[in-house]
Symmetry: C2
Subunit: 224 residues, 2 copies
Amino acid sequence: MKQSSSTRVKEPTSAEAEAYAYVLKRIRAGELKPGARLRAEDIATQIGMSRMPVREAFRRLDTEGYVTIRPNRGAIVTDHTFEEIQELFEIRSVLEGLATRLAVEQIGPPEIEEMRELLRRMRKGQKNAEDWLSRHWAFHEYICSLSGRQRLVREIERLHAALEPFLRLWFFHANRPVVAIRDHQELMNVIETGDAAKAEAAMREHVLITAPRIIEFLQRRDDT
Amino acid sequence: MKQSSSTRVKEPTSAEAEAYAYVLKRIRAGELKPGARLRAEDIATQIGMSRMPVREAFRRLDTEGYVTIRPNRGAIVTDHTFEEIQELFEIRSVLEGLATRLAVEQIGPPEIEEMRELLRRMRKGQKNAEDWLSRHWAFHEYICSLSGRQRLVREIERLHAALEPFLRLWFFHANRPVVAIRDHQELMNVIETGDAAKAEAAMREHVLITAPRIIEFLQRRDDT
DNA sequence: GTTTGGATACCTGTATACAAGCATGCTAGA
DNA sequence: TCTAGCATGCTTGTATACAGGTATCCAAAC
């Protein structure tokens, strides 16, 4: 029986899109680690195309921050410095703060219920780092999307994706979800009050609190 | 006599970089207006190269928001909707707010003096829209750079560049600098107090105030 | 033993060639 | 005269070929 188009995984319309999706997926999954070299030729043969669309995908990935193209010396998976990670968290904190402030105006009982459901799923996924990461992001993404600002959500998504490999490292080694669940519960309590300014401040705080934890972890890791 | 490298205009190292700079310059200058079609072939011949580096430049410009690539139907200069312009201002406001808050910690008498000098230059450039635009941006950029956050400055620069064509339209037709100078003076007064939170709020307000003015102008313009 | 220079091989960057998709205009039929 | 359908030309998208730069490895000299 033929699969319905809604359940079928959407196929990239162009070779470039396929290359882009393939590389990004492998970076986000942690298979391609920060600093790893990306040979256009290799990736091209892996997915059955020429180097050209792969090169174009690299450009996009570079602009978005996932990949760093070094002139005449090829592309590598971006390896952020501690300062850059700190900055990315700072930027994300104000953008998610903005999204939250705008979202509060749109929140009614059904949205609260949806947020509670997403929080429950996070709790259930505590054991598995991969589950936790995706459910955690689903919670944040839902709040941001309530702002109704597409471009803003896209920018936040970009920043989050750039940080994800580091979040992953952290979760796999430090098992932080227990305290993190409580943080999210408190964040939700503030959002529920409907006070836009307080909600914005709470989200800012919430995002920023992770930065020093991760950076400290990465520093300890580098020392050994 | 050989020119010193500091005064020489930096030459792009690659054909792609040259194509990128060329197209961006023409977009920012307003020669390529929103909605205008971009033919890779034409641009390639204009600057003496093949389509390939131009295509790659298009990808970068698309990711950064200057250009929109429509699959199989070529690239056009991005024509933002009013909602998107509003969003871009909102995003810029919180990012510049963040930069300002961080900058305040770094500000001493010499920085205040530099800001005053930039403000004076803005005043002198009131008559000419092009002068005003570049000096206005120089003022903002200086404050942001004091934050010491490279990535943050880059993101703000990107957003500003995307809005610049619309700012230009506005200035050319509405001649707003007079009131704008006063706005900037007031902003500086707050920054000088050294109160980080107030400075952040003031910068946010300052950036946002322009949004409705421009959007109203563009709407009136579209109606006629 | 270590360092410097050069040769070689590999990879990146650009151009050209080829394939595929879209738009425009013409023709035929109503 | 207007519309639908098809054919043709133009533009985009991808592959391959070629040129230019970088890194590595080995040999020779200090």
